[in-house]
Symmetry: C2
Subunit: 268 residues, 2 copies
Protein backbone atom coordinates (compact mmCIF):
# COMPACT_ATOMS: atom_id res chain seq x y z
CA UNK A 1 0.00 0.00 0.00
CA UNK A 2 1.45 3.39 -0.97
CA UNK A 3 2.03 5.93 1.75
CA UNK A 4 -0.69 8.52 1.56
CA UNK A 5 0.88 11.86 2.31
CA UNK A 6 -1.35 14.20 4.22
CA UNK A 7 -0.35 17.76 4.98
CA UNK A 8 0.23 18.84 8.53
CA UNK A 9 1.31 15.48 9.85
CA UNK A 10 2.73 17.21 12.89
CA UNK A 11 3.09 14.61 15.57
CA UNK A 12 4.15 15.74 19.01
CA UNK A 13 2.50 18.18 21.40
CA UNK A 14 4.12 21.48 20.81
CA UNK A 15 3.21 24.39 23.01
CA UNK A 16 2.97 22.84 26.41
CA UNK A 17 1.56 25.82 28.24
CA UNK A 18 -1.26 25.88 25.71
CA UNK A 19 -1.88 22.17 26.07
CA UNK A 20 -2.06 22.62 29.82
CA UNK A 21 -4.52 25.49 29.50
CA UNK A 22 -6.76 23.44 27.23
CA UNK A 23 -6.69 20.63 29.75
CA UNK A 24 -7.81 23.08 32.38
CA UNK A 25 -10.71 24.19 30.20
CA UNK A 26 -11.79 20.60 29.88
CA UNK A 27 -11.64 20.13 33.62
CA UNK A 28 -13.76 23.23 34.09
CA UNK A 29 -16.29 21.86 31.62
CA UNK A 30 -16.61 18.65 33.60
CA UNK A 31 -16.76 20.41 36.94
CA UNK A 32 -20.42 21.13 37.46
CA UNK A 33 -21.01 24.78 38.09
CA UNK A 34 -17.61 25.82 39.27
CA UNK A 35 -14.44 24.38 40.78
CA UNK A 36 -12.01 25.81 43.29
CA UNK A 37 -8.39 26.36 42.37
CA UNK A 38 -7.46 23.46 44.61
CA UNK A 39 -9.78 21.14 42.74
CA UNK A 40 -8.57 22.21 39.33
CA UNK A 41 -4.99 21.97 40.48
CA UNK A 42 -5.63 18.53 41.94
CA UNK A 43 -7.41 17.18 38.89
CA UNK A 44 -4.84 18.52 36.47
CA UNK A 45 -1.81 17.58 38.51
CA UNK A 46 -0.33 21.03 37.95
CA UNK A 47 0.95 23.00 40.94
CA UNK A 48 -1.42 25.66 42.25
CA UNK A 49 0.73 28.50 41.03
CA UNK A 50 0.82 27.25 37.46
CA UNK A 51 -2.87 26.44 37.54
CA UNK A 52 -3.69 29.86 38.85
CA UNK A 53 -1.59 31.63 36.26
CA UNK A 54 -3.18 29.74 33.39
CA UNK A 55 -6.69 30.14 34.75
CA UNK A 56 -6.35 33.84 35.27
CA UNK A 57 -5.00 34.23 31.76
CA UNK A 58 -7.99 32.31 30.43
CA UNK A 59 -10.21 34.50 32.54
CA UNK A 60 -8.76 37.72 31.18
CA UNK A 61 -9.72 36.55 27.73
CA UNK A 62 -13.16 35.43 28.99
CA UNK A 63 -12.49 31.81 28.14
CA UNK A 64 -12.83 31.09 31.83
CA UNK A 65 -15.00 32.74 34.43
CA UNK A 66 -14.12 33.41 38.03
CA UNK A 67 -16.82 33.89 40.59
CA UNK A 68 -15.29 36.11 43.22
CA UNK A 69 -17.99 35.23 45.74
CA UNK A 70 -17.40 31.47 45.78
CA UNK A 71 -13.84 31.66 44.50
CA UNK A 72 -14.91 29.23 41.85
CA UNK A 73 -13.82 28.78 38.27
CA UNK A 74 -15.92 27.76 35.32
CA UNK A 75 -16.04 27.94 31.54
CA UNK A 76 -16.29 31.47 30.14
CA UNK A 77 -18.55 33.14 27.61
CA UNK A 78 -15.97 33.37 24.93
CA UNK A 79 -15.43 29.64 24.81
CA UNK A 80 -19.13 29.32 24.17
CA UNK A 81 -19.31 32.14 21.65
CA UNK A 82 -16.39 30.75 19.69
CA UNK A 83 -17.58 27.18 19.99
CA UNK A 84 -20.74 28.25 18.22
CA UNK A 85 -18.71 28.94 15.11
CA UNK A 86 -18.17 25.22 14.93
CA UNK A 87 -21.89 24.70 14.51
CA UNK A 88 -21.94 27.11 11.62
CA UNK A 89 -19.14 25.29 9.82
CA UNK A 90 -19.75 21.67 10.66
CA UNK A 91 -20.92 19.28 7.99
CA UNK A 92 -22.44 15.99 8.98
CA UNK A 93 -21.78 14.23 5.72
CA UNK A 94 -18.14 15.22 5.56
CA UNK A 95 -17.71 14.26 9.17
CA UNK A 96 -19.40 10.92 8.67
CA UNK A 97 -17.77 9.82 5.44
CA UNK A 98 -14.39 8.59 6.74
CA UNK A 99 -16.13 6.68 9.51
CA UNK A 100 -18.54 5.16 7.03
CA UNK A 101 -15.63 4.16 4.86
CA UNK A 102 -13.92 2.49 7.81
CA UNK A 103 -17.10 0.62 8.70
CA UNK A 104 -17.44 -0.57 5.14
CA UNK A 105 -13.84 -1.76 5.18
CA UNK A 106 -14.19 -3.75 8.38
CA UNK A 107 -17.54 -5.30 7.51
CA UNK A 108 -17.36 -5.37 3.74
CA UNK A 109 -20.93 -4.14 3.47
CA UNK A 110 -22.52 -1.01 2.08
CA UNK A 111 -22.96 1.80 4.58
CA UNK A 112 -25.63 4.49 4.27
CA UNK A 113 -26.39 7.75 5.97
CA UNK A 114 -29.98 8.98 6.03
CA UNK A 115 -31.90 11.85 7.56
CA UNK A 116 -35.54 11.97 8.48
CA UNK A 117 -37.63 14.28 6.35
CA UNK A 118 -41.19 14.40 7.49
CA UNK A 119 -42.45 10.88 7.40
CA UNK A 120 -39.75 9.34 5.23
CA UNK A 121 -36.02 8.75 5.47
CA UNK A 122 -33.80 10.23 2.77
CA UNK A 123 -30.39 8.76 1.95
CA UNK A 124 -27.80 11.51 1.88
CA UNK A 125 -24.53 9.62 1.62
CA UNK A 126 -23.29 6.15 0.84
CA UNK A 127 -20.10 4.13 0.87
CA UNK A 128 -20.55 1.11 -1.33
CA UNK A 129 -19.43 -2.40 -0.57
CA UNK A 130 -16.72 -3.85 -2.78
CA UNK A 131 -18.59 -7.15 -3.06
CA UNK A 132 -20.12 -8.27 -6.32
CA UNK A 133 -23.48 -8.58 -4.71
CA UNK A 134 -24.24 -5.42 -2.84
CA UNK A 135 -27.03 -3.19 -1.67
CA UNK A 136 -27.46 0.00 -3.57
CA UNK A 137 -29.36 3.11 -2.70
CA UNK A 138 -28.85 6.21 -4.71
CA UNK A 139 -28.37 9.27 -2.52
CA UNK A 140 -31.61 11.18 -2.55
CA UNK A 141 -33.66 8.01 -2.44
CA UNK A 142 -36.59 8.07 -0.08
CA UNK A 143 -37.67 5.11 2.00
CA UNK A 144 -40.63 4.62 4.34
CA UNK A 145 -39.80 4.66 8.03
CA UNK A 146 -41.66 1.51 9.03
CA UNK A 147 -39.75 -0.87 6.77
CA UNK A 148 -36.18 0.39 6.82
CA UNK A 149 -33.45 0.04 9.39
CA UNK A 150 -32.79 3.75 9.68
CA UNK A 151 -36.50 4.50 9.77
CA UNK A 152 -37.16 2.05 12.56
CA UNK A 153 -34.18 3.38 14.50
CA UNK A 154 -35.58 6.89 14.17
CA UNK A 155 -39.08 5.90 15.17
CA UNK A 156 -37.81 3.88 18.12
CA UNK A 157 -36.55 6.96 19.96
CA UNK A 158 -39.67 9.00 19.33
CA UNK A 159 -42.62 9.26 21.66
CA UNK A 160 -45.64 7.06 21.23
CA UNK A 161 -47.64 10.07 19.99
CA UNK A 162 -45.10 11.13 17.38
CA UNK A 163 -44.83 7.58 16.11
CA UNK A 164 -48.57 7.19 15.96
CA UNK A 165 -48.91 10.44 14.06
CA UNK A 166 -46.47 9.26 11.42
CA UNK A 167 -47.52 5.66 11.18
CA UNK A 168 -51.22 6.32 10.97
CA UNK A 169 -50.59 8.97 8.35
CA UNK A 170 -48.33 6.84 6.14
CA UNK A 171 -49.78 3.49 7.10
CA UNK A 172 -47.53 0.48 7.46
CA UNK A 173 -47.71 -0.64 3.88
CA UNK A 174 -46.60 -4.20 3.14
CA UNK A 175 -43.60 -3.94 0.84
CA UNK A 176 -42.31 -7.50 1.12
CA UNK A 177 -43.65 -10.60 2.78
CA UNK A 178 -41.64 -9.82 5.88
CA UNK A 179 -42.64 -6.18 6.24
CA UNK A 180 -43.98 -5.58 9.74
CA UNK A 181 -47.56 -4.42 9.49
CA UNK A 182 -48.85 -5.40 12.89
CA UNK A 183 -48.78 -2.66 15.52
CA UNK A 184 -47.82 -4.99 18.35
CA UNK A 185 -44.99 -6.51 16.32
CA UNK A 186 -43.75 -3.06 15.46
CA UNK A 187 -43.85 -2.00 19.08
CA UNK A 188 -41.73 -5.02 19.95
CA UNK A 189 -39.25 -4.03 17.24
CA UNK A 190 -38.94 -0.55 18.76
CA UNK A 191 -38.36 -1.99 22.23
CA UNK A 192 -35.62 -4.25 20.85
CA UNK A 193 -34.01 -1.34 19.05
CA UNK A 194 -33.99 0.76 22.22
CA UNK A 195 -32.52 -2.11 24.22
CA UNK A 196 -29.80 -2.90 21.69
CA UNK A 197 -29.02 0.57 20.44
CA UNK A 198 -29.59 -0.55 16.87
CA UNK A 199 -32.61 -1.42 14.75
CA UNK A 200 -32.71 -4.23 12.24
CA UNK A 201 -34.48 -4.63 8.94
CA UNK A 202 -34.88 -8.29 8.04
CA UNK A 203 -35.97 -8.27 4.38
CA UNK A 204 -38.74 -5.89 5.34
CA UNK A 205 -37.96 -3.49 2.56
CA UNK A 206 -36.41 -5.68 -0.15
CA UNK A 207 -36.31 -9.43 -0.47
CA UNK A 208 -32.89 -10.83 0.41
CA UNK A 209 -31.71 -7.58 1.96
CA UNK A 210 -30.87 -7.24 5.62
CA UNK A 211 -29.84 -4.11 7.41
CA UNK A 212 -28.65 -2.86 10.80
CA UNK A 213 -29.02 0.79 11.76
CA UNK A 214 -28.18 3.18 14.56
CA UNK A 215 -28.50 6.91 15.18
CA UNK A 216 -26.30 9.99 15.21
CA UNK A 217 -27.22 12.75 17.63
CA UNK A 218 -26.69 16.47 17.99
CA UNK A 219 -25.59 18.35 21.10
CA UNK A 220 -29.12 18.28 22.50
CA UNK A 221 -29.24 14.50 22.28
CA UNK A 222 -31.71 14.76 19.40
CA UNK A 223 -31.21 12.38 16.48
CA UNK A 224 -29.93 14.09 13.35
CA UNK A 225 -29.37 11.10 11.10
CA UNK A 226 -29.38 7.34 10.85
CA UNK A 227 -26.40 5.19 9.94
CA UNK A 228 -27.07 1.84 8.37
CA UNK A 229 -25.20 -1.14 7.11
CA UNK A 230 -26.90 -3.36 4.59
CA UNK A 231 -26.07 -6.55 2.79
CA UNK A 232 -27.53 -9.70 1.38
CA UNK A 233 -29.18 -12.29 3.60
CA UNK A 234 -26.47 -14.75 2.61
CA UNK A 235 -23.75 -12.71 4.30
CA UNK A 236 -25.74 -11.53 7.30
CA UNK A 237 -27.09 -14.53 9.20
CA UNK A 238 -28.96 -14.08 12.48
CA UNK A 239 -25.78 -14.83 14.36
CA UNK A 240 -24.03 -11.78 12.94
CA UNK A 241 -26.65 -9.22 13.85
CA UNK A 242 -25.21 -8.50 17.26
CA UNK A 243 -21.64 -8.14 16.08
CA UNK A 244 -22.63 -5.86 13.21
CA UNK A 245 -25.02 -3.95 15.44
CA UNK A 246 -22.25 -3.14 17.86
CA UNK A 247 -20.03 -1.97 15.03
CA UNK A 248 -22.73 0.27 13.61
CA UNK A 249 -23.40 1.66 17.08
CA UNK A 250 -19.79 2.44 17.84
CA UNK A 251 -19.34 4.05 14.44
CA UNK A 252 -22.46 6.15 14.94
CA UNK A 253 -21.21 7.12 18.37
CA UNK A 254 -17.87 8.17 16.95
CA UNK A 255 -19.55 10.30 14.29
CA UNK A 256 -21.80 11.82 16.94
CA UNK A 257 -18.78 12.88 18.99
CA UNK A 258 -16.89 14.30 16.05
CA UNK A 259 -20.03 16.18 15.04
CA UNK A 260 -20.18 17.72 18.49
CA UNK A 261 -23.18 15.69 19.56
CA UNK A 262 -24.10 13.62 22.59
CA UNK A 263 -25.70 10.23 22.60
CA UNK A 264 -28.60 9.85 24.97
CA UNK A 265 -27.35 6.44 26.06
CA UNK A 266 -23.81 7.32 27.04
CA UNK A 267 -24.37 9.57 30.02
CA UNK A 268 -21.30 11.61 30.76
Amino acid sequence: MPEIKKPNSTNKGQVQSLVKALQLLEILANGNGGLSLKEVSGQSGFPPSTTHRLLSTLQQEKFARFDADNLSWSVGVKTFAIGNAFVRDRDLIQTARPHMKALMETTGETVNLAVQSGDVAVYVAQVESRQMMRAMAAPGMRVPLHCSGVGKAMLAVQSEQERAAILTKTGMRRVTEKTITDVADMRRAFADALRDGYAIDDEEHAVGLRCVASLIYNENREPVAGLSLSGPLARIPDTKFQELGKLVCSTAERITLEYGGNSPVTMN
Copy 2:
Protein backbone atom coordinates in the same frame (compact mmCIF):
# COMPACT_ATOMS: atom_id res chain seq x y z
CA MET B 1 -16.04 55.63 48.01
CA PRO B 2 -14.25 52.79 49.77
CA GLU B 3 -12.11 50.45 47.72
CA ILE B 4 -14.02 47.23 47.26
CA LYS B 5 -11.54 44.41 47.45
CA LYS B 6 -12.27 41.65 45.01
CA PRO B 7 -10.25 38.45 44.89
CA ASN B 8 -8.17 37.68 41.86
CA SER B 9 -7.51 41.22 40.86
CA THR B 10 -4.73 39.98 38.61
CA ASN B 11 -4.05 42.71 36.14
CA LYS B 12 -1.61 41.98 33.35
CA GLY B 13 -1.72 39.33 30.63
CA GLN B 14 0.30 36.45 31.91
CA VAL B 15 0.92 33.51 29.64
CA GLN B 16 1.51 35.13 26.29
CA SER B 17 1.55 31.97 24.22
CA LEU B 18 -1.86 31.14 25.61
CA VAL B 19 -3.17 34.62 24.91
CA LYS B 20 -1.92 34.28 21.37
CA ALA B 21 -3.60 30.93 20.90
CA LEU B 22 -6.90 32.31 22.17
CA GLN B 23 -6.63 35.16 19.71
CA LEU B 24 -6.15 32.63 16.97
CA LEU B 25 -9.29 30.80 18.04
CA GLU B 26 -11.22 34.02 17.81
CA ILE B 27 -9.88 34.66 14.34
CA LEU B 28 -10.93 31.17 13.31
CA ALA B 29 -14.40 31.83 14.68
CA ASN B 30 -14.76 34.94 12.56
CA GLY B 31 -13.33 33.33 9.47
CA ASN B 32 -16.28 31.84 7.71
CA GLY B 33 -15.74 28.16 7.07
CA GLY B 34 -12.00 27.99 7.22
CA LEU B 35 -8.95 30.17 6.85
CA SER B 36 -5.53 29.45 5.41
CA LEU B 37 -2.44 29.70 7.54
CA LYS B 38 -1.50 32.83 5.66
CA GLU B 39 -4.80 34.47 6.47
CA VAL B 40 -4.62 33.58 10.15
CA SER B 41 -1.04 34.69 10.30
CA GLY B 42 -1.92 37.93 8.56
CA GLN B 43 -4.90 38.71 10.74
CA SER B 44 -3.11 37.91 13.96
CA GLY B 45 0.13 39.61 13.06
CA PHE B 46 2.10 36.58 14.26
CA PRO B 47 4.75 35.10 12.00
CA PRO B 48 3.64 32.02 10.06
CA SER B 49 5.84 29.68 12.06
CA THR B 50 4.41 30.77 15.38
CA THR B 51 0.90 30.73 14.00
CA HIS B 52 1.40 27.26 12.64
CA ARG B 53 2.82 25.93 15.86
CA LEU B 54 -0.05 27.27 17.91
CA LEU B 55 -2.69 26.12 15.43
CA SER B 56 -1.33 22.62 15.22
CA THR B 57 -1.24 22.40 18.99
CA LEU B 58 -4.86 23.53 19.12
CA GLN B 59 -5.64 20.98 16.46
CA GLN B 60 -4.06 18.12 18.39
CA GLU B 61 -6.40 18.89 21.23
CA LYS B 62 -9.34 19.24 18.81
CA PHE B 63 -9.86 22.88 19.69
CA ALA B 64 -9.06 23.66 16.08
CA ARG B 65 -9.74 21.66 12.96
CA PHE B 66 -7.53 21.35 9.94
CA ASP B 67 -8.97 20.36 6.61
CA ALA B 68 -6.12 18.67 4.78
CA ASP B 69 -7.90 19.00 1.44
CA ASN B 70 -8.23 22.78 1.45
CA LEU B 71 -5.42 23.40 3.92
CA SER B 72 -7.89 25.39 5.90
CA TRP B 73 -8.24 25.94 9.61
CA SER B 74 -11.42 26.32 11.60
CA VAL B 75 -12.80 25.97 15.10
CA GLY B 76 -12.69 22.42 16.47
CA VAL B 77 -15.25 20.18 18.13
CA LYS B 78 -13.78 20.44 21.55
CA THR B 79 -14.20 24.19 21.68
CA PHE B 80 -17.85 23.61 20.96
CA ALA B 81 -18.24 20.72 23.38
CA ILE B 82 -16.60 22.67 26.18
CA GLY B 83 -18.40 25.87 25.33
CA ASN B 84 -21.64 24.04 25.92
CA ALA B 85 -20.72 23.67 29.56
CA PHE B 86 -21.17 27.43 29.77
CA VAL B 87 -24.79 27.06 28.81
CA ARG B 88 -25.30 24.56 31.58
CA ASP B 89 -23.83 26.87 34.20
CA ARG B 90 -24.95 30.28 33.06
CA ASP B 91 -27.51 32.19 35.02
CA LEU B 92 -29.29 35.11 33.44
CA ILE B 93 -30.28 36.79 36.66
CA GLN B 94 -26.79 36.66 38.14
CA THR B 95 -25.35 37.87 34.89
CA ALA B 96 -27.82 40.71 34.64
CA ARG B 97 -27.75 41.97 38.21
CA PRO B 98 -24.51 44.00 38.14
CA HIS B 99 -25.55 45.62 34.88
CA MET B 100 -28.98 46.41 36.27
CA LYS B 101 -27.33 47.92 39.32
CA ALA B 102 -25.14 50.09 37.12
CA LEU B 103 -28.12 51.23 35.08
CA MET B 104 -29.98 52.13 38.24
CA GLU B 105 -26.98 54.12 39.47
CA THR B 106 -26.62 56.14 36.28
CA THR B 107 -30.33 56.82 35.84
CA GLY B 108 -31.53 56.76 39.43
CA GLU B 109 -34.57 54.72 38.43
CA THR B 110 -35.77 51.24 39.27
CA VAL B 111 -34.63 48.53 36.88
CA ASN B 112 -36.54 45.30 36.31
CA LEU B 113 -35.86 42.05 34.56
CA ALA B 114 -38.82 40.04 33.24
CA VAL B 115 -39.34 36.89 31.22
CA GLN B 116 -42.30 36.00 29.06
CA SER B 117 -44.37 33.16 30.38
CA GLY B 118 -47.19 32.28 28.03
CA ASP B 119 -49.18 35.45 27.54
CA VAL B 120 -47.85 37.42 30.49
CA ALA B 121 -44.52 38.84 31.58
CA VAL B 122 -43.13 37.77 34.94
CA TYR B 123 -40.67 39.92 36.89
CA VAL B 124 -37.71 37.84 37.98
CA ALA B 125 -35.28 40.41 39.33
CA GLN B 126 -35.24 44.03 40.40
CA VAL B 127 -32.82 46.72 41.43
CA GLU B 128 -34.70 49.45 43.23
CA SER B 129 -34.22 53.15 42.80
CA ARG B 130 -32.90 55.06 45.81
CA GLN B 131 -35.46 57.84 45.29
CA MET B 132 -38.27 58.40 47.73
CA MET B 133 -40.80 58.02 45.00
CA ARG B 134 -40.07 54.87 43.09
CA ALA B 135 -41.68 52.13 41.09
CA MET B 136 -41.99 48.80 42.79
CA ALA B 137 -42.71 45.40 41.41
CA ALA B 138 -42.26 42.40 43.58
CA PRO B 139 -40.33 39.67 41.80
CA GLY B 140 -42.82 37.05 40.72
CA MET B 141 -45.36 39.70 39.79
CA ARG B 142 -47.16 39.07 36.53
CA VAL B 143 -48.10 41.84 34.12
CA PRO B 144 -50.05 41.78 30.86
CA LEU B 145 -47.98 42.13 27.72
CA HIS B 146 -50.03 44.83 26.01
CA CYS B 147 -49.66 47.43 28.72
CA SER B 148 -46.13 47.01 30.01
CA GLY B 149 -42.82 48.12 28.57
CA VAL B 150 -41.26 44.67 28.66
CA GLY B 151 -44.40 43.10 27.27
CA LYS B 152 -44.58 45.49 24.35
CA ALA B 153 -40.89 44.98 23.65
CA MET B 154 -41.47 41.23 23.57
CA LEU B 155 -44.51 41.46 21.35
CA ALA B 156 -42.77 43.86 18.99
CA VAL B 157 -40.26 41.26 17.84
CA GLN B 158 -42.83 38.52 17.37
CA SER B 159 -44.61 37.73 14.15
CA GLU B 160 -48.02 39.16 13.39
CA GLN B 161 -49.57 35.72 13.92
CA GLU B 162 -47.95 35.12 17.30
CA ARG B 163 -48.97 38.57 18.46
CA ALA B 164 -52.50 38.10 17.24
CA ALA B 165 -52.75 34.75 19.00
CA ILE B 166 -51.73 36.29 22.30
CA LEU B 167 -53.62 39.58 22.05
CA THR B 168 -56.89 38.07 20.93
CA LYS B 169 -56.64 35.51 23.71
CA THR B 170 -55.86 37.97 26.50
CA GLY B 171 -57.62 40.95 24.97
CA MET B 172 -56.14 44.41 25.34
CA ARG B 173 -57.82 45.24 28.58
CA ARG B 174 -57.93 48.92 29.56
CA VAL B 175 -55.96 49.25 32.78
CA THR B 176 -55.50 53.02 32.85
CA GLU B 177 -56.86 55.82 30.75
CA LYS B 178 -53.75 55.67 28.59
CA THR B 179 -53.67 51.92 28.01
CA ILE B 180 -53.53 51.24 24.28
CA THR B 181 -56.59 49.28 23.28
CA ASP B 182 -56.77 50.12 19.61
CA VAL B 183 -55.15 47.60 17.27
CA ALA B 184 -53.78 50.25 14.90
CA ASP B 185 -52.29 52.27 17.76
CA MET B 186 -50.70 49.14 19.12
CA ARG B 187 -49.24 48.27 15.74
CA ARG B 188 -47.73 51.75 15.60
CA ALA B 189 -46.22 51.20 19.04
CA PHE B 190 -44.59 47.97 17.84
CA ALA B 191 -43.15 49.67 14.78
CA ASP B 192 -41.70 52.41 16.96
CA ALA B 193 -40.20 49.84 19.31
CA LEU B 194 -38.57 48.00 16.42
CA ARG B 195 -37.20 51.20 14.98
CA ASP B 196 -35.82 52.47 18.30
CA GLY B 197 -34.76 49.19 19.87
CA TYR B 198 -36.80 49.97 22.96
CA ALA B 199 -40.48 50.02 23.83
CA ILE B 200 -42.12 52.59 26.05
CA ASP B 201 -44.99 52.42 28.48
CA ASP B 202 -46.51 55.84 29.05
CA GLU B 203 -48.79 55.36 32.06
CA GLU B 204 -50.42 52.49 30.25
CA HIS B 205 -50.14 50.15 33.21
CA ALA B 206 -50.22 52.50 36.21
CA VAL B 207 -51.11 56.15 36.42
CA GLY B 208 -48.03 58.33 36.78
CA LEU B 209 -45.65 55.53 35.87
CA ARG B 210 -43.51 55.58 32.77
CA CYS B 211 -41.22 52.87 31.58
CA VAL B 212 -38.64 52.10 28.88
CA ALA B 213 -37.80 48.51 27.97
CA SER B 214 -35.49 46.53 25.74
CA LEU B 215 -34.70 42.86 25.18
CA ILE B 216 -31.99 40.37 26.04
CA TYR B 217 -31.31 37.61 23.54
CA ASN B 218 -29.82 34.14 23.51
CA GLU B 219 -27.28 32.70 21.07
CA ASN B 220 -30.02 32.06 18.51
CA ARG B 221 -31.08 35.69 18.54
CA GLU B 222 -34.27 34.73 20.34
CA PRO B 223 -35.42 37.00 23.16
CA VAL B 224 -34.97 35.48 26.59
CA ALA B 225 -35.95 38.38 28.80
CA GLY B 226 -36.91 42.02 28.91
CA LEU B 227 -35.05 44.73 30.76
CA SER B 228 -36.99 47.76 31.87
CA LEU B 229 -36.43 51.02 33.61
CA SER B 230 -39.39 52.68 35.30
CA GLY B 231 -40.01 55.84 37.16
CA PRO B 232 -42.56 58.52 37.85
CA LEU B 233 -43.86 60.75 35.08
CA ALA B 234 -42.34 63.72 36.90
CA ARG B 235 -38.80 62.44 36.39
CA ILE B 236 -39.28 61.02 32.91
CA PRO B 237 -40.52 63.76 30.55
CA ASP B 238 -40.92 63.03 26.85
CA THR B 239 -37.55 64.59 26.18
CA LYS B 240 -35.79 61.97 28.25
CA PHE B 241 -37.22 58.91 26.54
CA GLN B 242 -34.55 58.73 23.91
CA GLU B 243 -31.64 59.11 26.29
CA LEU B 244 -33.02 56.53 28.69
CA GLY B 245 -33.96 54.24 25.83
CA LYS B 246 -30.40 54.21 24.58
CA LEU B 247 -29.13 53.45 28.04
CA VAL B 248 -31.57 50.57 28.48
CA CYS B 249 -30.62 49.24 25.05
CA SER B 250 -26.90 49.33 25.65
CA THR B 251 -27.32 47.70 29.04
CA ALA B 252 -29.49 44.97 27.53
CA GLU B 253 -26.89 44.50 24.82
CA ARG B 254 -24.14 44.16 27.38
CA ILE B 255 -26.13 41.57 29.32
CA THR B 256 -26.86 39.72 26.09
CA LEU B 257 -23.16 39.47 25.29
CA GLU B 258 -22.15 38.37 28.75
CA TYR B 259 -24.90 35.77 28.65
CA GLY B 260 -23.46 34.42 25.43
CA GLY B 261 -26.28 35.77 23.28
CA ASN B 262 -26.51 37.74 20.07
CA SER B 263 -28.74 40.66 19.36
CA PRO B 264 -30.61 40.51 16.09
CA VAL B 265 -29.86 44.17 15.45
CA THR B 266 -26.11 44.18 15.81
CA MET B 267 -25.04 42.02 12.94
CA ASN B 268 -21.50 40.77 13.46
